[in-house]
Symmetry: C2
Subunit: 149 residues, 2 copies
Amino acid sequence: MNNNKQLITTIRQFNRFYANILGLLDQHVLNTGYSLTEARIILEIGFIQPCIANQLVDKLTIDRSYMSRIITKLSNDGILSKETSTTDNRISLIHLTSKGMTLFNQLNERSDEQIMKLLHDLSQEEIAEIHNAMLLIQRKLGGDLHDTI
Amino acid sequence: MNNNKQLITTIRQFNRFYANILGLLDQHVLNTGYSLTEARIILEIGFIQPCIANQLVDKLTIDRSYMSRIITKLSNDGILSKETSTTDNRISLIHLTSKGMTLFNQLNERSDEQIMKLLHDLSQEEIAEIHNAMLLIQRKLGGDLHDTI
DNA sequence: CATTATTAGTTGACATAGTCCACAAAAAAG
DNA sequence: CTTTTTTGTGGACTATGTCAACTAATAATG
């Protein structure tokens, strides 16, 4: 852990680089009229519905009041609907409406398209290399994420 | 480019994963009393000083008016100083004060520390693997960043 | 060199995003 | 039952970022 100066420089460079990529992807997933945070919420609901607001709060680490407002907005927009749980009156079970599902599919398609564009002039072999590199990073760095930082 | 469904899922998973890492790092680079954007500006000035505001606007893609306000704030805080160019009276040459340099070094140290913590219980071999993986991703994806998205 | 176009920077007004705190209703724990 | 915790909401606020208009200085062009 001593002579890693150059390594750390590389990693910080990678971080700036990848933050840039993510930023560009974000901007383009948008154009649905919804913000990044709203899109994340819609995607998350789509994946795990039915769900409750507090689940989303924990999973996406978004403030509860903020979540409440966004859910109200999405409900008013007809993207999602809430029904009070029969077993716990505090809880609303949230799920996407058919309009919401359409949006969910759109968001997914656009995300996929962006990834494909990113890879568009690479060979299958190169893509496989990237794939492996990502799996490796995630595997190696994934374990201690919440313990060490 | 046809049966890449699983691959795209992996990449999107990696993106969420890495967005999370970057978010966590960001939060911790902070605690200097300055926001992420302010920190980015301070770091950039530190690296390329002396510089002019418009350079920073282009490099960091931040709105000019916003940049103007942040620079004014940092100037008031004694982090940076401006001197009008002798050859072009529109331009201010910005550089960090000694207080600003101290902060710059702090930000750098904290960034480095965060990276080290991220790697702390990996072997040198594993670290080298991550290093190579990041270099590969950056090399493969770096070229077409601005052309394709 | 006089006119026009560009560039650098600033300000006001506004929009968007996110946070903090206090509260009420329901449920769980004691 | 009483206390504590959980879920969700709303008010008030701060932070972050955007848009348009404007001045002053310089560069470009006929």
